[in-house]
Subunit: 409 residues, 2 copies
């Protein structure tokens, strides 16, 4: 058996970013950019007013002229038609272009109008400096300037920026496609009434949702019977995806056929069994890239334990980091945090254990409570859990207040 760290290292050593694809920007939220994006415009495209008020030449004002003739009203979207001569100003709205001859804007609140209709304006502001309330052309960025580089994650901010520079499509690393196959003769579909000895398939629903939360696209391949030909047919279909999650069939039982069937399909075993609880039976293999056959990328195959809690834990520890790598994310800190136990806790076992737990902030500190848990088949115990408490191997007691590592879910 290998350690969690070694298993993760092996998984990541086989995971690489998917080939870029061009997508509409509106579909690229959360994806990683795979090209450089330069601007085709200056931003702002003109010296623009930052306030509603009057555009004027600051040298006029320096000469003591505080009453100016209003020659034009400039709205955002307008093009100024009048250049300012000495003693003139233009009424201007936020975002509108300054007219020729203006180099500052005085806020509307600092003025009084003289005459009706407005034709002259008196300025109350004591001093006006050049550039006041003006954002110069290209102050944010200039035409041709690189705004985003490959590797950058597209968030709402970046989608706004892509719209501003007219990029309707971008090259991105696409979402990984994850095929999910549940195996086991005891399983029936969630819509069915289980007969004696049967249970409903909860793993597919859980893993589809976990894959979606991780930014991947899940593909439901249903339930495979413990029968080599059926499994071979379903796994062949699954291998069209980037990642295959097979749930069940990887223990030591006589019907744990998955590793043998995968071997027949050319999937190389990288490791089997990890020193972790729950999740020990985890199997990981790779179907190598074969450009000659049109298969550009290696496919990753995870044989997840059939118990749902084991499936969830191994997903968090190994599948999620692999999906982040496939999606082109450069760093994905394993988001563990340190927290203090709110109660004494006793641990027994020769494997590091990820124990369902409740994490809460109190007085600026994280506090953690391990929950009652009947082992890896007990999904209901996880309803109150929002984290997994990492308990190192060994038989020992931890006192209330002890600090342990916690993986938020």
């Amino acid at each position: 058996m290998i350690s969690v760290d070694e298993a993760l290292r092996l998984v990541l050593s086989h995971a690489q970013a998917n080939r870029p694809r061009r997508l509409p920007a509106a579909e690229a939220l959360g994806l990683v950019l795979a090209e450089e994006v330069a601007s085709d415009v200056d931003s702002p495209p003109h010296d623009k007013s930052l306030v509603d008020g009057y555009a004027l030449g600051s040298d006029d004002f320096a000469r003591g002229q505080t009453e100016l003739v209003v020659v034009e009203q400039i709205m955002a979207g307008d093009v100024p038609r009048r250049a300012l001569a000495a003693g003139q100003c233009s009424q201007i709205m936020t975002g509108a272009p300054l007219p020729p001859g203006a180099d500052a804007v005085v806020m509307w609140e600092q003025t009084t109008t003289v005459g009706e209709p407005v034709s002259r304006v008196r300025i109350a502001e004591p001093t006006i400096r050049p550039g006041q309330n003006v954002m110069p052309r290209a102050a944010s960025f200039a035409r041709g300037q690189v705004l985003l580089r490959a590797g950058h994650e597209l968030r709402p901010i970046e989608l706004g920026l892509l719209a501003e520079v007219g990029r309707g499509e971008v090259a991105v690393v696409p979402r990984p496609l994850v095929a999910i196959l549940a195996t086991g003769n005891e399983l029936v579909a969630p819509g069915c009434q289980p007969g004696p000895g049967q249970i409903r398939n909860s793993n597919t629903s859980l893993l589809l949702a976990a894959a979606r939360r991780a930014g991947a696209v899940g593909l439901d391949l249903g339930i495979g019977r413990d029968e080599p030909e059926e499994l071979a047919r379903l796994l062949t279909e699954a291998l069209a995806a980037d990642v295959v999650l097979v749930s069940g069939g990887v223990s030591a039982g006589v019907l744990d056929l998955v590793p043998a069937v995968l071997a027949r399909l050319g999937v190389e075993q990288i490791f089997h069994r990890v020193r972790v609880r729950p999740g020990k039976p985890l199997w990981f293999g790779v179907s190598p890239a074969s450009p000659a056959e049109g298969k550009e990328m290696a496919k990753l195959v995870f044989g997840l334990p059939g118990n749902p809690v084991s499936g969830l834990v191994t997903f968090e520890l190994f599948v999620r980091p692999a999906l982040a790598r496939l999606a082109g994310q450069r760093d994905f800190p394993r988001a563990t945090t340190r927290a203090r136990l709110v109660c004494d806790h006793e641990h027994r076992g020769d494997r590091p254990t990820y124990h369902p737990a409740r994490l809460e902030a109190a007085d600026g500190e994280w506090m953690v409570r391990p929950l009652a848990w009947r082992g890896s088949g007990d999904l209901a115990a996880l309803v109150e859990a929002n984290a997994l408490a990492l308990l190192v191997a060994g038989d020992y007691s931890l006192p209330k207040g002890a600090t342990i590592e916690v993986l938020p879910l």
Copy 2:
């Protein structure tokens, strides 16, 4: 002008959870449950083996019998056909039901087979206690037991549990529908080449993405000209949604028509202008519920400043908490964190400022660097930002190492 806290209090006092709706469980990820869910099965449905091995009666073993006759092989999904008599055992796989007469399972690794084909098995384990390697029927939960209560968020774990108890549909608080209307004569669609005085509409892309990230469904109403009839027509359409975001048109300019048009449509102003930078012009109003006209819920209308950074900041501060409330979330801690400045920082201004910043963890501590920023029109400055540094009002200098509050984006 009111404070950020007072504005948020007013927004939330008008926001309430949407009416529950029944949805397929597969579409309910991230939503809040609006009913109680009880189990229709025992889990596990039978005393089940936790390992691959041999099921036996522990009293046999207590009598010193360490070699047993194998009478049956029981797979997961099988129903045992043979009750065990004294001196008998059944081979059993993980998850399979124990046969009558068995109360414990000994792991396969602790046994040796005697004779070919396997008919007898010798047990190497020194003691076997009743219940060993067995999960009793209903140990996780019993038929009729309430597993999930209204108000619980549906995560992958809960979707697995819903599948296990056969719930294909559930009553949930649906995603809020958010209509987004950008206003301004200067705007052209992202696919167009801007003419003189024009800019492309970046706000709609930014706000659609922000709404989606917040778990809402965005509805793009395009660009409205600064013209009362056009705005009235578009805003009437927008008011079919739960929340309306109007971008621009809420400053003091002569074409800032939005508040007046909203008043005409029966939207009551709750506040206008907030003591915050950027985002001061924020407008908030409510179109009251009117059950007689089939309008069950009040509609929330946010007039967001047209500058994209102001729009993003006011979205984070006010719209996101409102959307969480509409989605039925009970608590949504404003996720500010405290961080130390990595450099000296000078602040000037009479409003609390949310300044674009870079937040990084270093040695278990959060460090924050305020970024160069040319004000609310400067979207490009936010590309490197992953947080907003909260700088209180006033003219002052903060030394490197000072602790400030930060809102991660």
